[in-house]
Structure formats: C-alpha cells, structure tokens
C-alpha cells in the first residue's frame, strides 16, 4: 500500500488527541485511547499501533509535553499534557475539520 496524500486526515487523529488533552488535562496513552472511545460512544476506536507514533510526532512538534509519572495503580507511565502551541494547533485543526465536515454534510445532503 503506497502513501497517499492525507495530511489532513492524519490530522484527524492529532485533532482527537489534542482535544482529549485540552479537555481532560494530563493523560497517559491508554487513557487517551479510552477517552476517545468513551466520548465517541464506541464509534471511534483508535488504532493503538498508530497512537504512539502520533504522540511522539506531536511531542517533537512541540504541541504536547511528555513526562514520566505514576498511574492510578502505581505503575510508571508516560503522561502527556497540551502546550500553548498545541492549543493553537487544536484551534486550527478544529476550524479546518468544521470546514471538511461541512463540505461532507453538504455533499451527503445534496449529492
């Protein structure tokens, strides 16, 4: 399977992660997975194999910050928080997402 131009779509996962961190604060990767699944009422299931590469990419981009902490069950886990750059990115992503879904909604209604 070759690469395809889906930067904006790749951004969808980013959007979901950023939104989760923005609304819930500090979370580890597993928590993010559960959060997305629960809030979307099971409609969105994050491919766990794709989540960590995305988290690390966003960390490098400076949108999120990672640190080691202790989980509810006293397990060492890596926690993520959203940065100011991340919030700006989230706003931009949200706007473009609204654009896209608006187009899709129009399409679904009239096509």
């Amino acid at each position: 399977m070759g690469r395809y131009a889906n930067d904006r779509l790749q951004g969808t996962l980013d959007l979901l992660v950023l939104k989760s961190l923005a609304s819930r604060g500090r979370m580890h990767g597993y928590g993010i997975t559960l959060h997305i699944q629960t809030v979307s009422r099971d409609a969105l299931r994050v491919e766990e194999g794709s989540l960590y590469p995305a988290l690390h990419r966003m960390e490098q981009a400076g949108w999120i910050r990672a640190e080691w902490g202790v989980s509810e069950n006293n397990r060492r886990a890596r926690y993520y928080t959203i940065t100011a750059a991340g919030r700006r990115q989230l706003a931009a992503e949200q706007e473009s997402w609204a654009e896209v879904t608006g187009a899709v909604a129009r399409f679904l209604e009239y096509a």
Partner: protein, 895 residues
C-alpha cells in the same frame, strides 16, 4: 508500511527506544487489567492487549503462531465490529439477508432434490464398491417388457456360472395388496434373494432378516421383513409385531423382522415396505409368477467384486459366461428374426453406488433447467445486494474516511467490508438452508411421478451443506467484491476535502451497470416463464379430440383376482353391462389402451391402397362399441362399432383422420382392407373414419390410429380400462363406482379416477416447471423493480439541484418526468437487450421441453420485454413523480 518507517525515524537512540518500550508495556498492562476486569482470563487478557497493537508488537515477538493467532484475533475483532455495524442498520441488513436467502434457498431446494435423486449414495455399507449387473446389447421386442434387467432364467445362469462377485443378490420391485388393520391396501414391496442383507450390510433392528433356509421352504413357512416406516405407520412401532401373520395378496406371511429406518432398498425414490424372498414369488403370485417366463425382464442384480479381481478381468469373464447363458436360455417362443439379438446380449458391470431409479432420466432435464434458473435468480439477488451495499458504502464514506484517518489501512477497510458481505451471505445461506428443506418436500409432493409419490431422503448431508456454503461464498464474492474494492480505492481525502462529486458519479455508473445486469437476468427469467408457461397453456388448450369433462376411468386388473383366463371375456361382458346399468351413467366402454396414459400399442400393418399393398406403422386401440360416445370422439364418416361386430363376425376397423389421410390420401378409406400379421394373420375392413384424438400424451402429435372391436382382436387381456360417461358432474359418480367395485367385485384390483385428472397428471411435469419458473420470474421482477427504484432515487437525490434549476427556469413536471423516464429506460433498454441475447442463446437447450412454441419466436422475447417494461414503468413512476414535484425554492435556498 508507512507508519513503521515513521516509528523507526522517531526512535533514534537506545534511550528513546527503551522509553517507548516501557510506555507500550504500561499501556499493555493497563489494557490487560481492564480486560481481566471485563471477564477475560489472564492469558487471554494479555494476548488481546498485545494484539491490539497489531504488527508492532508482533514484530517483536517474531513467532509464526502469534502471526496467525493475531490475524484470527483481529478478524474476530472486525467480526464484532461488523455485527455492531449491521445491528445499527437492521433494515438494510434484513433486506439483504432475505434477498440472499431466497436466492440461496431456491438453489439449495433444487440441489437437495438433485442430490437425493441422483448424487446421493445408498445408505448401505461401502456403497462405492457396489456394482450392478446389466444386460448390454439389450433390445426390446415391443411386446417384451423393455428394461435391461435380467429374466429369472438368466439370473439362474448367472448365479450358477459366475465367479467374479463375492457377495451378490437379485431383487425386484413389486406392488402388493396387503391386509393392514383390517383393510386391503396397495403397498410397495420387493422380492430379494437372502444375500441382499449381507451384501448391503443391513441388519434387522428387530427380529431378523431372511436366510437361505427361508428360501428353501417358501410355501410352508413364508416369511416377510417389513420396513421401519410400515412398522411405525401400521403397527405403532409395536415390538410384538415379530411372529405376527400378515396377508399379502391373500396369502399368509410370517413377519420375522423390521429393517432400519434409513434403508429404503435399491430404488431411489421408492420405499419397499415388504421384503419377500424371491423363492416365495410363485407362492405369492401363483399362476402369474414371472419365474417361468423366459422373456420377462424384471430382476435387478447387484454385488461386490471378489477381492483380487479387477473390473477388467470381471468383464471379460462375464463375457464368456454370457455366451453360454444366452444359448442356454434362448426362449423357444422368440420369433426367428429376434433370436440373434437375444444371443448378442451380454452381462456387463456398472457402478451402482447411487442405486437405480426410474425417475432419474425423466427428472434430469427439468432439474437441469431449474438449476440454471435458480442460479440466475441467485445472480440477480447478488446484483441487488451489491447495489444495496454500494448505497450503504456511499452513505458510510465519512465513517470509513475517519477510520482510515485513525490509522486503519485500506486493506483493513476492504477486509472489513468483505467480512460484512460474508456475514450477510452466511446468514442468507443459513436461512436459505432452513427454507430449502420444506420447499424441497413441497416441490416433491407437487411433482407427479407415474410411479407414485417419490420418497426421497431430503435431510441435508455434507453435499447440501457444502453447496449452500459455496453458494454463500459465491454470493459474498459477487455481491461484495465490487463495493469493497470501490470503498478501499475511493480517496477519502479527496472526498472530504470538498463537496466534490467525482466519486458519486462513478458510484452512479457502477450502480447503473449493476442495474442493467439485474434487468438482463430478470429478462432471462421472464423468458423462461413465458416459454414454459406458454407450453403449459398450449398443452392445456390443445385440441384433444375428447370431451373429457364427464368421463370416469377405472383401471381393472384381473391378475390377482383368481378369474381364470377362459372366463375373462365373460367377466368383462357382465362388468360392462353392470356399469351401463348405473342410473347416472350415460354410456360405458372398455378399451385395451387408456388414452393419455403414456402407454401405447403399436404394430406394422399392411394396408391396401390404390398403388397396391403398403406397410404402415400404426397405433392400435381395441375398444367396445360405446367407446367413441363415452370419450366424445366423433365418427365423421361411415359407421361406428355395434354389438354385432363380435367375435366370428366379419372383422371391421375404424381409422382416424390422420391414418385416412396419410395412407389413403384423398380417396375414401371406407371398404379398404388392412391386415395384421402378428400374432396371427387377420384382415379388417375399414367401416368408418373417426375424428383425430390424442393417443399417448397431449404432447405427442396424433399418430395414425386403427380402432378394432375388442371382441374381434384383443381377446381377453388380464387388465383393461373402463370408461364411464356420467349424466351429471363426474364427481357424483366417483363414490358410487368405487362402492360398486368394493362391494360387488372385492377380489378385483381397481384404480378409479377422472379422465380430466389423468390428463392433468400427464402434464404435471410441465405444470411444476411452469409454476416454478413463474414464481422465479416474479421474484426476479420484484428484485429488478427494487433495483430501478433504488438507483433512480439515488440519481434524483444527486441531481436535485439541477432539477430544481430546470423547474425554476420553466420546465414543466412532465418534462422532469420525461427526464427521469429517459434515464430509467436507457438503463433498462441496455439490460433488456443483453438479457434477450442471453435468453435467446440459452433457450435452445429447452427446445425438447416446449410444446406449441419454439425458442426462436420473436413473440416470446417481445412478451418478456413487454412484461419487464411494464414493471419498469411502475417502478419509475414514484421516483419520477417525486422528482417532478421538487420545490425549486427549497432546493436553491439550501444550496
């Protein structure tokens, strides 16, 4: 894998790698703990948690089993997701499952019957090794019962002389009058030599089967083994049945055993209720015994090769035995010219794992046609489902795009959709299997057979299950592959980026192509219905030469009555007299051959024509004087028969129009002579001409027929057919006639029925095929209509703004309707054209099943196209009306 390279790019340095490992381990541990809380075992929980990472984790484990397990596991997860997705759109899912169930169910129904009748092995030990001995080079002589079974004399020769078979036996089907619970019933039975049970590995479930010892003393201690079915029906499964005495053909028999439930004998489609030792046949049939008759071919012989002998060796040894056996059994009564043919007969071996059947050869062609038609119906169902799936996938494009965005690969999406169609197809197959059983039983009950109700084991075996599974797999592929590939190839980024309509345009093209395919298949189904329906109509309205409304038939069989041969003539005369005296009977007649019963009596005769004597092949009828009045066949020249045309009086005959025309041309046949050479020379003078009337069947063209007075020619056969014309409705006298036979002629074997019923039964096969084809065509039309409706609705939704603008610019509703009809008809026309070409090609295989029309008649295709067009108009009407009522302002405002 794009994300793998991304991962490796990310992971520069060991520290980083260790951190990621730990992070993933934490994630897996947390997931596993949640899994355990959710009820999984420790091991399961951990595995699930790992597998959710997909290939990343698997790469680490690097074990083959894990890869397979992982694949299955992710499949299981997709399966759960599929079930969720289908549950969310129950309506469409149910429609798809029902559509597929109809298609698969129809195919499985026909296959169940084909399997039971033709393919299935007998329920006996090691059926694959079972062989049948037949007579090769056999040819019948007209008055010998034609079959390639053996005479008793040949069986004796074979039994004594053969050295190739280890276990073998002879058997023959028969009908028996049995007294059961105080009532005489006609039942099915079989004669058999005792090795039958050993050879087939069949043991009695109660009592015992018969042995050589039972065969040695048939008359002193006649024994019988009964079927499981009879034991249940007539003896309420009473174990005390062993040792009870039973009257068969009026002779006492001792019940010694009950056979297992599944065993039905060697004849597929028939269950023998009584097994009688072959040696007891003379005791049972007395003077009518077939044992001493050297030209009565009636015994079926089966066996297994001796170990160490090849089929090749067996054939050559049998060939040597044949020459001796034929010389030793040459019947003295055989005419000189037939003797070389008798001597050329050879014993041959052939596989007999599926037993024998008299119905197979008759049923093969209808089953083949019905299989083809149901296969088409399934194809149509698949097209319909494909169309629904495309519509569904289109509606779900956003959802799929989001899943791709969340990291699902295209392969995963395609697999998901393929899984979805597989789940639907399997559900359809399961439902299809459920409906196939009762449908095949109903079809079998409706399918008339000259040998009585067919008794087949319709329980699904591995073949039927495999067939249904295969049908499901094919359906899933045909219906699912197009939509799945389309969905995986469609570029969701492109789709989401704008309100672009490129993808839906190709969707529309795809759906219209599918629709054209649906229409094409529907046309083929309708053509089949037109061809077979037309055939049935032509047969039902064919000019028969009879007035069949008020005619009652009674088939009379004296063979078991104890009436001596010399007294038969007298007996028939009194019987006819008795029939005529029934107050509600207008006229009564006896005849040797029953019209439209399938039986014939043919001879070569010598006719004196203007150009000298001429040999003609004609069909015979031997009748009593009132025959023509009773059947409503008109005497159109000369005179009919009178009671004066008795034995000893000058021999006279009547001819039908066809004989008069073909033999005597335009000259009058009256007063001409026709001579018969066999069995003794006799010359008839033609006294009159009768209207053409059907002879053997409705289908057969009227042959040249010669009618002779029964008293002058036929002598007194053991069986005759009586016909009665009633004054009122024929139903009124049925019971009276039955009662008279029961009370006044209790020893007689009689079958009473109406002539109309007999005519109806004679076209039962045509009726069955025509009605099934009509049902399938109706289903096909319904699916086609559904397809038209769906595609047009989609088209109108897509072009709604265009239509709105057209209306705003002054288009009238009629113009919009014309636009929609144009779209509908262009697709339908393509389908109709393709369908007609396919139907035209396929129809030639049905030529021999048709009557009164040919598969090349344009009218057939015009009719099929006409019917489909009517359906198309109806299916287009609603969407077209809706489109023409589009409110331009609403559309334009929302743009």
């Amino acid at each position: 894998m794009a994300w793998l390279s991304r991962v490796s790019n990310l992971l520069r340095g060991d520290r980083h790698r260790e951190e990621l490992d730990e992070e993933l381990a934490a994630h897996i541990e947390m997931r596993a703990r949640d899994n355990i809380v959710a009820g999984m075992s420790d091991e399961e929980a951990l595995r699930d948690a790992r597998l959710r990472f997909g290939n990343l984790t698997l790469e680490k484990e690097r074990t083959r089993e894990a890869a397979v397990v992982g694949w299955i596991d992710s499949l299981a997860r997709d399966f759960r997701y599929t079930c969720d997705a289908l549950r969310n759109s129950r309506g469409v899912a149910a429609l798809i499952v029902v559509t597929l169930a109809l298609g698969i169910g129809a195919n499985t129904t026909i296959f169940t019957i084909t399997n039971a009748l033709i393919l299935r092995s007998l329920p006996v030990r090691d059926p694959a090794q079972l062989l049948r001995i037949r007579l090769g080079n056999f040819s019948s002589w007209g008055y010998i019962e034609a079959d390639d079974s053996l005479t008793y004399a040949l069986w004796n020769q074979f039994d004594r002389g053969q050295d190739v078979l280890a276990d073998y036996f002879a058997c023959a089907d028969t009908r028996l009058d049995a007294v059961l619970n105080g009532e005489v019933k006609q039942t099915t039975g079989a004669f058999a030599t005792s090795p039958l049970f050993r050879t087939l590995g069949v043991d009695a479930i109660l009592g015992r089967t018969f042995t050589d010892a039972d065969e040695r003393t048939p008359a002193q201690a006649a024994v019988v083994v009964i079927s499981h079915g009879l034991w249940q029906r007539e003896y309420a499964s009473d174990p005390a049945v062993i040792g009870r005495t039973l009257l068969l053909e009026g002779k006492p028999f001792n019940i010694i055993g009950v056979l297992p439930e599944r065993f039905f004998g060697m004849t597929v489609g028939r269950v023998a209720d009584f097994y009688v030792p072959l040696a007891a046949e003379p005791y049972l049939r007395a003077a009518d015994s077939a044992l001493p008759n050297p030209t009565r071919y009636w015994l079926l012989v089966f066996g297994r090769l001796r170990p160490g002998i090849t089929a090749q060796q067996a054939q050559s040894r049998l060939a040597a035995l044949s020459a001796i056996a034929m010389r030793a059994t040459l019947p003295s009564e055989l005419p000189e010219r037939a003797r070389p043919r008798y001597l050329r007969q050879r014993f041959t071996l052939e596989p007999a794992h599926a037993g024998v059947s008299y119905v197979r050869s008759m049923a093969e062609q209808p089953l083949a046609v019905l299989s083809a038609i149901t296969a088409l119906l399934l194809l149509l169902a698949c097209f319909t489902v494909a169309n629904l799936l495309v519509a569904r996938a289109t509606a779900r494009q956003k959802e799929l795009a989001v899943r791709i965005a969340l990291g699902a690969s295209r392969w995963r999406i395609a697999r998901q959709l393929a899984l979805e169609s597989s789940v639907l197809a399997l559900a359809g197959a399961a439902l299809g299997l459920v409906i196939a059983r009762p449908f095949s039983a109903a079809l079998l009950a409706a399918y008339p057979s000259p040998y009585g109700q067919l008794m087949l084991d319709l329980s699904p075996d591995w073949r039927v299950l495999g067939f249904a599974f295969l049908a499901a797999a094919v359906s899933a592929f045909v219906a699912g592959v197009g939509p799945a590939l389309r969905a995986a190839q469609a570029d969701p980024a492109e789709l989401l980026k704008s309100g672009s309509t490129t993808a839906p345009a190709s969707v529309l093209l795809f759906r219209r192509t599918l629709l054209a395919g649906q229409i094409a298949v529907a046309i083929v189904l309708v053509t089949a219905a037109v061809l077979f329906g037309g055939t049935l109509r032509n047969l039902m309205t064919a000019e028969t030469g009879f007035n069949s409304d008020r005619v009652l038939l009674a088939e009379i069989d004296l063979r078991r009555s104890g009436i001596a041969k010399e007294r038969r003539q007298q007996f028939y005369a009194t019987l006819l007299d008795r029939m005529e005296r029934i107050p509600s009977v207008d006229s009564a007649a006896l005849s040797y051959v029953t019209p439209i019963s399938g039986s014939t009596w043919q001879f070569n005769v010598r006719a004196e024509t203007d150009s000298g004597p001429r040999s003609v092949h004609i069909y015979f009828h031997a009748v009593t004087p009132e025959f023509f009045r009773t059947f409503g066949t008109a005497v159109i020249a000369g005179r009919g028969f009178t009671p004066n045309d008795r034995a000893g009086a000058p021999a006279v005959a009547l001819v039908n129009s066809t004989l008069a025309r073909t033999v005597f041309g335009s000259t009058s046949p009256i007063g001409r002579r026709i001579s018969v050479l066999d069995p003794e020379p006799l010359t008839f003078e033609i006294a009159g001409v009768v209207q053409d009337a059907k002879y053997r069947s409705l289908r057969q063209a009227v042959p040249p027929v010669l009618y002779t007075p029964i008293a002058q020619f036929a002598g007194a056969p053991a069986s005759l057919s009586a016909a009665l014309r009633s004054r009122g409705p024929v139903a009124n006298i049925v019971h009276e006639v039955r009662r008279i036979f029961r009370d006044e002629y209790p020893s007689l074997s009689v079958r009473v029925g109406t002539f109309s019923a007999q005519i109806n039964d004679s076209i039962g096969r045509e009726r069955a095929v025509a009605s099934l084809c009509t049902v399938f065509a109706a289903l096909g039309l319904a699916l086609a209509a559904l397809g038209i409706f769906g595609v047009l609705s989609y088209l109108i939704a897509r072009r709604r703004s265009e239509i709105g603008i057209r209306i705003a610019l002054g288009a009238r509703p009629a113009d919009v309707r014309r636009l929609i009809y144009g779209q509908s008809f262009s697709t339908c026309a393509a389908g109709v054209a393709a369908g007609c070409v396919i139907a035209f090609w396929a129809a030639r295989f049905t030529r021999t099943m048709l009557y009164g029309l040919t598969p090349t008649e344009p009218a057939v295709y015009l009719a099929a196209a006409g019917i489909l067009s009517a359906v198309a108009v109806i299916a287009t009407a609603v969407p077209a009306r809706r489109a023409s009522q589009t409110e331009p302002m609403t559309v334009l405002r929302s743009e």
